[in-house]
Amino acid sequence: MYGTRLYMSILAVLLLVTGNIFYYQNEKLEGPFLLTHFQEVQLNEHGYGTLELYYVTNTDDKIWNVHLPGIQYAFVEHESIHQETTNFYVKRAFIELQDQNITEPLTITNIEIQFSQRDFKNFQVGEVIILPGIEFEREPIVQNIASSSSNSGVSVSLFYVKEPLTLIEITYPFEKIVSDYFQLSLELQADDFTKKTTGGIAMINNYKVIEEHLWSQSGSPLEKVKLPITLSENEVFKLTKTFDPSNSGVFIQIELKFMFENEDGNTVVGRDLVNLRPYFSNKELKELAKKAGGQHE
């Protein structure tokens, strides 16, 4: 009763098993490894903040415990699969941090992590800056009124200033490293919104006008913009971030700071978040796993 067919099928299964064991022995990861992070974590006034950690694994590994040098409390809030390829998972863990005693920015390059059913191990994380707790402004003078991003890796943010300001400088951390991953363009909107709307809240709600401005011409590359620039009250400016899709092997989460000076000579800061999440092909992940050195057999 179909004996030959059964034996042939079992033989095929055994060949599959043998092939897979050989493949597994050659390709297996000794353990999960972290991706490179360039990240700023801004703590709030109570000393709370969230760190996003990305790691690669090919098993069901989860982060059980984490220890950041110089940080009082760090625990895993939750984690999820960020990306899955044929052989690997890229997982994202949200680590809740709490420390009210930090008064100076703290730079972390190594983190101790205990993955499920493993011992604590020291991992290179890239560079994470923990910024001391601040109280966020409820009504900032430089306000982000709209943001949008496209699949092609272009992200646009629209800001307006509530009072006359002079833009002195645009700064961001890890500039020499992370500037390879994206380009910034700045555009000033000559025709101000106040002519079309009644200003303030009404202007923010005028989405049609905002949309027109968001996707209009992209502006001048930041390096060609001559600073300082004076902006009048309610004037709008636009920042375009164009990410390089071929350089997406790192996680970047930083804050761009627009350093302004008001008429009284005081410093006013505008903020915009730059967020580049890692995406890989299976081949890229394999190469990355090989480069992970001691963490890969």
Binding site: M1, Y2, G3, R5, L6, S9, I10, A12, V13, L14, L16, V17, G19, N20, I21, Y23, Y24, E27, K28, N58, T59, D60, E84, T85, T86, N87, F88, Y89, Q117, R118
Partner: protein, 187 residues
């Protein structure tokens, strides 16, 4: 003859049902395989195929022993030796399939001997279903370490295997009743 099938039915049911307290199996699989071995022993005079199932049932009694308390229960570190349970499960799967093949081949021979065309056909149809589902599952299972993203598919195929296993157990139970009819017709 029906005692043999009754033992097969109870044995297969014990293997299928997994009741555990912590990791301890209240209905141990090895007891199931002992019942099957006894059932086969009852049936082996009725057909040569049943005899061929005996060695597989006997080997399986020992192979499934670790499942009594789970791999961690016997002190096996599955993280450092992940391939060992995987290999063991594969061998158990293959041996179980071969054992079932000889039981079904024996049943088919019996139906043929008693000139019960309907049962003969029913045995073939069910065996085909059983073999296909198991081969697909074992093939997918082979990739569980190398393609972790296949895991949902492996789980789905395992559920189908359990359903088909249940269908087979019901068939064995029906065969037990059918053997009485065959014996009545014979006398």
């Amino acid at each position: 003859m029906n005692k043999g099938y009754r033992l097969l039915f109870i044995g297969l049911l014990l293997i299928l049902i997994d009741l555990r307290i912590n990791t301890f199996d209240l209905l141990p699989d090895f007891v199931g395989y002992i019942m099957i071995a006894l059932g086969i022993n009852e049936l082996k005079t009725k057909g040569s195929s049943f005899s061929k199932a005996t060695p597989f049932a006997l080997i399986l009694i020992f192979l499934v022993f670790p499942s009594l308390v789970g791999y961690e229960g016997i002190g096996l570190d599955t993280k450092s030796l992940p391939l060992l349970p995987y290999l063991l499960e594969t061998v158990i799967g293959v041996f179980h399939l071969l054992m079932m093949y000889f039981i079904f081949a024996g049943t088919w021979q019996l139906a043929n001997e008693y000139k019960d065309d309907i049962w003969e056909k029913a045995t073939k149809v069910r065996w085909n279903l059983y073999a296909i589902v198991h081969i697909i599952f074992l093939s997918l299972f082979a990739f569980q370490f190398t393609i972790p993203t296949l895991k949902p598919l492996i789980v789905i195929s395992l559920i189908i295997v359990i359903i088909v296993e249940f269908v087979m157990i019901v068939f064995i139970k029906k065969t037990e009743s059918q053997t009485e009819i065959w014996e009545c017709e014979e006398t």
